[in-house]
């Protein structure tokens, strides 16, 4: 401290007191130390580096020969660019507005003129429906009448005239469709007659159009309208065929049928090879009543029996229409395809038949000679073949698919049950459903949980989008929970990783929460922290999975139901339990860590049947696919059946349940086959991998 004072008290800081002789000698020695001479190469190196650097900097500067702009202009150049950009945007906007305005401003006279084709369309549709025509007939007419008028028709009177003529002609065609004799023997004759009428009408319209406007003067819009006319004629043609088919019920040999499915040649090939996306689309499940047989996935005998909307792929060849009919009368429908794909297409199009305008080499169909000629004329098909009966191998393959599906149901439910058990729950109900879009077969699984454990399972399935692969060959079940690719998430998984959950012994995971209360399964985290779970992580890719000797069709997705479907499904289940609702509310659900899972749809109901645990049953359904039944407490509006429940509570349980109410949660999951190759077992020795 005294040294410090000496430093700062002195005039020179550190020489507050007299320097000793040693210090003076030291300073003298230091001050006499000679300055070192810098080696010459230092200067040379520095100068060389600088000159090199200057040369490099000057070279690219000379290359573009930049022109120096006057400073005032430089300051304004950004402003000028801004103004130019605004002008461009304004010009584009004005042009768009001018294009849109004619559609928005419909004159009263034009409204009336539009109403007329719409009325005609309604009449035509009514007439069509009277004879079994679907409403699409009217829709096509309406489209011609109104939809295409917005192309600036005021400027093209001939187009408007063409439009009106198209409407009238289509109405005439519809009238012409009605008198077709519908008796069975005359079905084919009626069809041919109608086709001739349609051709004649189309020809008349075309000639009329050419008289009104020379071909060269036809604008692009008029060409489109000509196409529309052609389309309308073709539509009428097809509807008439359907009328003939459905009402006249002709013999099978005379039938021309089509089933709802995808387009033929191109999509058929793509169906065989296209990979299923790794992340399944949002689940929209249509619950199929138990009594009603579920619709099939893609192929097989049940596929044709499902009334489904047509799905047209964008890359499909121009297939004009897909008309659903009962395929039960046509166990094996005609095939079509290209020559080079002959071996591949027939099996995939066995359920499909179209009137084609695609570029196909052959088609197999049973029909009369005139109809065949018409098909050849309308479609670019070189050859018509007579269909052959399905081979035993094909029949066996279809049967194998059903067997495969059955195996999938059994295996996936069993393995998912292991997963549910590992989280302390149990599967209480399963039901086969059809998932839209695509009419995929799937299974809805209802699981019963303690509340917190259910949230943990939701977390595991929802956030990580697990793909569960079961391996239940051993007695101690192992489940591989594989997070699928999840684009955009922070922890994006680039390759499949597997987490092996090995089940702990049942008794190790059970815990008695209260004296006298039944033992409950502890939650996953707590069990893991106590070492009762063995968790190991292993990484694998799809090839590894494919090479694993897994049981057949054991790969599946597990997803939760969306809120609306959860509510629907829960209500259906509740109805079967003879319960009626009293109060409904929306509550927020959080998991153990406080993270919001979503909003839960809560309905407090009073059960008619005596409930062993209490009087009230509150049902949770909603965001996370959760349905919760709480038992215990007091009833607000006890029903008749509830009286016995109350007696049970007051008489036997007497406070224990009230002190330790046990909340049970029902979770609903949808299990779907994974995109990994499914193994179709043809026989005991032959195993073939096909796409799902």
């Amino acid at each position: 401290m005294s040294d410090e004072r000496n430093i700062f008290d002195g005039p020179n800081g550190d020489d507050g007191k007299e320097l000793t002789a040693e210090e003076r000698r030291l300073e003298a020695l230091l001050s006499e130390m000679p300055r070192r001479r810098c080696p010459s190469h230092v200067r040379e190196n520095v100068l060389a580096a600088l000159r090199r650097q200057m040369e490099e900097e000057t070279k690219p500067a000379e290359a573009p020969k930049a022109k120096v702009i006057a400073f005032p202009f430089r300051r304004r150049v950004f402003r000028i660019l801004e103004v130019a950009a605004i002008l461009v945007v304004a010009a584009v906007g004005l042009r768009v507005y001018l294009n849109v305005r004619p559609r928005a401003q419909i004159a009263p006279t034009e409204l009336a003129s539009r109403a007329e084709p719409a009325r005609k369309a309604g009449e035509v549709a009514g007439a069509g429906e009277k004879h079994g025509l679907p409403s699409r007939f009217g829709r096509a007419e309406e489209e011609i009448g109104t939809g295409r008028r917005a192309e600036g028709n005021e400027k093209r009177p001939h187009a408007k005239a063409t439009e009106d003529r198209v409407s009238e002609k289509a109405a005439d065609l519809a009238k012409a469709a009605t008198p077709v004799p519908l008796s069975a023997p005359d079905a084919t004759k009626g069809l041919d007659t109608y086709v001739e009428v349609a051709d004649k009408a189309a020809k008349e319209v075309r000639e009329l159009d050419e008289k009104v406007t020379p071909k060269k003067a036809l604008e692009k819009g008029a060409e489109v309208e000509a196409d529309l006319l052609k389309q309308a004629v073709a539509d009428v043609h097809r509807q008439a065929v359907t009328v003939t088919k459905s009402q006249a019920a002709p013999p099978e040999s005379e039938s021309v049928v089509a089933s709802p499915a995808r387009p033929l040649a191109g999509p058929a090939r793509s169906l065989a090879t296209r990979p299923v996306p790794s992340i399944a689309p949002p689940v929209k499940a249509e619950v199929v009543p138990a009594a009603q047989p579920a619709a099939p996935v893609r192929s097989g005998p049940l596929a044709a029996s499902a009334p489904a909307p047509s799905v047209a792929a964008p890359s499909a060849p121009s297939i004009s229409a897909v008309v659903p009919v009962e395929a039960a009368a046509e166990p094996f429908t005609p095939k079509a395809g290209k020559a080079e794909a002959e071996g591949q297409v027939p099996a995939l199009v066995a359920e499909d038949l179209y009137f084609l305008q695609g570029d196909l080499d052959w088609i197999e169909i049973e029909s009369s000679a005139p109809v065949q000629q018409q098909i050849l004329a309308r479609n670019k098909i070189d050859e018509i073949r007579v269909p052959v009966e399905p081979t035993p191998a094909q029949v066996a393959q279809l049967a194998d698919r059903e067997t495969t599906w059955t195996q999938f149901v059994q295996t996936s439910v069993a393995s998912f049950s292991e997963l549910v058990n590992s989280f302390g729950g149990a599967i209480t109900h399963t039901q086969e459903v059809v998932v839209m879009p695509g009419q995929r077969r799937a299974i809805v699984v209802e699981c019963n949980f303690r509340d917190t454990n259910g949230n943990a399972l939701i977390n595991a399935v929802n956030q990580k989008r697990m793909v569960a692969v079961s391996n239940i060959e051993t007695q101690r079940a192992k489940l591989l929970l594989l997070p699928a690719k999840e684009a955009g998430s922070a922890g994006q998984v680039t390759s499949r990783g597997g987490v092996v959950f090995q089940s702990a012994p049942e008794d190790a995971r059970q815990r008695q929460f209260a004296p006298g209360a039944p033992p409950q399964l502890d939650n996953l985290q707590r069990a893991r922290s106590r070492g009762q779970y063995q968790v190991s992580v292993q990484r694998m890719n799809e090839e590894d999975l494919a090479q694993r000797r897994l049981p057949a069709v054991s790969n599946f997705f597990a997803q939760t139901l969306p809120p609306s479907q959860t509510e629907l499904y829960a209500n259906q289940r509740a109805a079967k339990k003879s319960q009626f609702f009293v109060q409904q509310s929306l509550e927020q659900r959080r998991d153990v860590a406080g993270q919001r899972l979503g909003y839960a749809y809560t309905t407090q109901t009073t059960t008619n049947a005596p409930a062993p645990g209490g009087l009230e049953v509150s049902r949770w359904g909603g965001y996370a696919g959760t349905s919760n039944e709480q038992r215990g407490g007091t009833a607000t509006t006890p029903g008749e059946g509830a009286t016995s429940g109350r007696a049970a509570v007051t008489g036997t349980i007497a406070g224990q349940q009230a002190a330790f109410p046990v909340a049970e949660t029902q979770l609903y999951f949808v299990l779907e086959p994974d995109q990994l190759p499914m193994q179709v077992i043809h026989s005991a020795t032959q195993v073939e991998s096909v796409a799902r």
Partner: protein, 208 residues
């Protein structure tokens, strides 16, 4: 009278240097060459006293001048160019030390480390002064080497201030500016550094 002449000369040199700096700032390498010639010994000497070997000192000097040319536009002339160069030199040396530390280059050798080579003496033996007569040594040029060696044994921050204060003759304010330390810190550090060096040079200084 003599003092007035020196002041005028210094002003003329200062004005001249300012012009040279401006020319170098515009990219004139020849003008910068004049600055190099003027300050190269000073920079190299400080670097040598700090790093203790010629190769590193040469590298530091090169880096200092290249950095100086690169950042000359940032030099506003508020301090002397030499002070600014001292600052760059100290920063460059510190960067060198940290780089050597990252690369595992330990400049500290253990005195107790056993040397298996019989021809090479142990470090403790080489550091031990073979000449027991300090009087004769102090009189000769070897005394300077001893001071340099003892200087290198000091802590780096003590070495900095000793070199700048007693060898280069900078004022406290200039040292504070070059080292970016407060003035009080500089003064106390100089005091402690001198005390530490005196402790190491005790035997020689008594004999002298």
């Amino acid at each position: 009278m003599v003092q007035t002449k020196q002041t005028v000369t210094a002003r003329v040199e200062s004005g001249d240097e300012q012009k040279i700096v401006e020319q170098a700032r515009d990219g004139d390498v020849n003008a910068f060459d004049i600055l190099i010639q003027r300050y190269q010994d000073q920079v190299y000497s400080v670097a040598y006293r700090l790093v203790g070997n010629e190769d590193d000192a040469a590298d530091v000097a090169q880096d200092v001048f290249l950095a100086c040319f690169r950042h000359l536009k940032d030099y506003r002339g508020e301090s002397k160019l030499s002070t600014w160069l001292y600052r760059i030199t100290i920063n460059t040396v510190k960067n060198l030390w940290s780089r050597q530390k990252r690369q595992g280059y330990d400049v500290t050798d253990s005195l107790d480390e056993d040397n298996n080579d019989p021809e090479t003496p142990a470090l403790v033996e080489s550091l031990a002064d073979p000449a027991p007569n300090p009087r004769s040594l102090a009189a000769g040029a070897e005394m300077g080497e001893i001071v340099e060696r003892k200087l290198l044994e000091l802590e780096p921050e003590f070495r900095e201030v000793i070199v700048l204060r007693f060898i280069e003759g900078l004022s406290y304010e200039e040292i504070a500016e070059a080292t970016k330390e407060p003035l009080g810190t500089v003064k106390s550090r100089i005091f402690r550094a001198r005390k530490a060096l005196k402790e190491r040079m005790k035997d020689y200084l008594q004999e002298v």
